[in-house]
């Protein structure tokens, strides 16, 4: 087409209009380098619901590849307080995965909870906040927040509530959940120690007759020890976990925060 109107009599080839130039197809095997908007910043989180409290925990290491970017980068955030310092907040969000998405998700949920408080004159319940978080995640279904979120608080009856999410918003209320890099290391430990899986009453029978150990809610002290043990184990076996353990205990009296040391190697 371009050749027909060419101003170049010698070649009768394409003229100099940039737009008319023939599109040269990319050579065979050419690869297109595309920007990858995601990375994994490591770290691990954990949440356990008790009878009248919920414990959220996360390590404070931020990695990229084999590098430790920061030894103190909290993954736990108080959500929906009246002010920026979140003094009167009742809900805690933990995010682990891609840190920038986690930060964006936290700010979004916090803004939504603050709006709710202004509109309705009362703080958001965990149940409502949990549903809203699912919606926020699903709104980005085709460019997801690459983060494993866990939401913790107290339900309407004052019982500990833990909600866990996948990156696109599927969620479930659970007794306990581990997230992030060492989730696969911590979760089986939790199954055994919180839900008493594979624990049996000794000499209660053979094979299927063997009776399971009766389940009971753990005390706050038991949970705190369990969390520390879980992270000490994870630190030992996972390079992306370590430095510090941030723990938040949500009770009817508010949120208590503790920072414990973990191995820095």
């Amino acid at each position: 087409m371009a050749a027909m109107f060419s101003q170049n009599p010698l070649m009768n080839g394409p003229n100099y209009s940039v737009n008319d130039a023939p599109r040269v197809n990319a050579p065979e095997g050419a690869r297109e380098h595309r920007f990858d908007p995601y990375t994994d910043n490591g770290g691990s989180t954990l949440a356990i619901a008790g009878a009248e409290f919920a414990v959220m925990a996360g390590d404070t290491r931020l990695t990229s590849g084999y590098s430790i970017n920061s030894r103190h980068h909290p993954k736990l955030f108080k959500i929906g307080g009246t002010t920026a310092d979140q003094k009167d907040a009742t809900i805690v969000l933990s995010v682990v995965g891609f840190a920038a998405d986690g930060e964006a998700l936290k700010e979004k949920l916090d803004a939504v909870c603050k709006m709710y408080r202004h509109r309705h004159g009362k703080p958001m319940s965990v149940k409502a906040c949990a549903q809203r978080l699912s919606t926020i995640l699903y709104q980005k279904r085709f460019f997801p927040y690459y983060a494993h979120a866990i939401l913790g608080g107290l339900d309407e009856e004052g019982k500990g509530a833990v909600y866990s999410y996948d990156p696109v918003g599927s969620y479930e209320r659970e007794q306990c959940r581990a997230g992030g890099a060492a989730a696969s290391l911590i979760m089986p430990f939790l199954d055994n120690q919180v839900n008493f899986k594979n624990q049996h009453i000794p000499n209660s029978g053979e094979g299927h007759a063997l009776q399971e150990r009766e389940r009971r809610p753990l005390t706050r002290n038991e949970v705190e020890v369990l969390v520390k043990d879980a992270f000490d184990g994870a630190v030992e076996r996972h390079i992306e976990v370590g430095d510090g353990l941030q723990m938040m205990v949500i009770t009817k009296d508010g949120i208590e925060e503790v920072l414990l040391p973990l191995k820095k190697d």
Binding site: N8, L10, M11, G13, A21, P37, N41, N69, A100, E103
Partner: protein, 272 residues
């Protein structure tokens, strides 16, 4: 030969073939920065008792070519904060223009207060380093979400709202973090371990004097020059304190010793 003006100054088609303008295509999908072209290497920074020290060399590389040897990669902001850029230089220049605009707007906004007193930026209501870092992180995250990233890792140093020394990083994906010492690129592997020996925690950093911090940073710049092939021995160093930014843009690495190089064996063609 085609002598008409539209052919002037162009390679002859009959000799070189038709001009391949495919990469100048103006239709088709918009292509953003897909990879950095002219790049700056490490930026390093460490907090001390009453401020932050930051340094970066003056080189802009074009791949392995040392292309521009007098590029200033530390930029002061409102003479209260300092921003250090690693990564793509054109994106750095874009950000620099953008921040200059922002600084001018800020100066107008706070004209009356800025001229009368020389208090910390938080008192005058101007943007402090923490505010600036938040602004940059939102900008970078937005651009990565638009698949049009600014290919930089940026360090921001200055003071936060409580007038405490502030140091934080943001990268091309909008990932942010803070630490008593920070380094981008090669510096994260070579300089950060050295700096962490002196400022492992915030408490350690709060015990460092200005002289100590400057010495550590200069030592790190030397190590980087020894081992980073895309680095230069001329560098910029900035010290941010409550009194403002002291920026020196033409420092020369001092007291280099290449004696260690003799002992290195087993690289390249040298086998014994």
């Amino acid at each position: 030969m085609d002598h008409r003006p539209q052919a002037w100054g162009r390679p002859r088609d009959d000799v070189y073939g038709a001009y391949d303008a495919s990469y100048l295509q103006t239709n088709g999908p918009k292509t953003a920065t897909q990879s950095p072209i002219v790049t700056g290497t490490s930026v390093i920074a460490i907090k001390f008792k009453d401020g932050v020290v930051m340094a970066a060399d003056n080189l802009a590389s074009y791949g392995s070519l040392a292309r521009f040897t007098d590029v200033k990669r530390l930029r002061p902001f409102l003479s209260t904060s300092i921003v250090g850029f690693g990564g793509d230089v054109s994106d750095m220049q874009f950000l620099d223009r953008h921040l200059n605009e922002l600084a001018i707007d800020e100066a107008y906004e706070h004209e009356s207060t800025a001229t009368t007193d020389t208090d910390s930026p938080s008192k005058t209501g101007q943007l402090n380093a923490a505010n600036l870092h938040k602004y940059l992180s939102k900008l970078m995250y937005r651009r990565r979400s638009d698949f049009d990233p600014l290919w930089n890792q940026v360090l921001v140093a200055g003071f936060d709202a409580h007038a405490k020394p502030f140091l934080a990083s943001v990268d091309l994906r909008g990932t942010t973090f803070t630490s008593p010492s920070l380094a981008t690129g090669f510096g994260a592997m070579l300089a950060q371990p050295i700096m962490r020996r002196f400022a492992a925690t915030e408490e350690d950093a709060a015990a460092l004097t200005r002289e100590q911090a400057v010495d550590v940073v200069k030592e790190c710049m030397k190590v980087l020059f020894y081992r980073d092939a895309r680095s230069l021995d001329r560098y910029s160093i900035a010290v941010v304190t409550k009194d403002g930014v002291e920026l020196s843009e033409d420092e020369q690495l001092e007291k280099q010793s290449w004696a260690f190089a003799e002992r290195i064996r087993g690289y390249g063609t040298q086998v014994v």
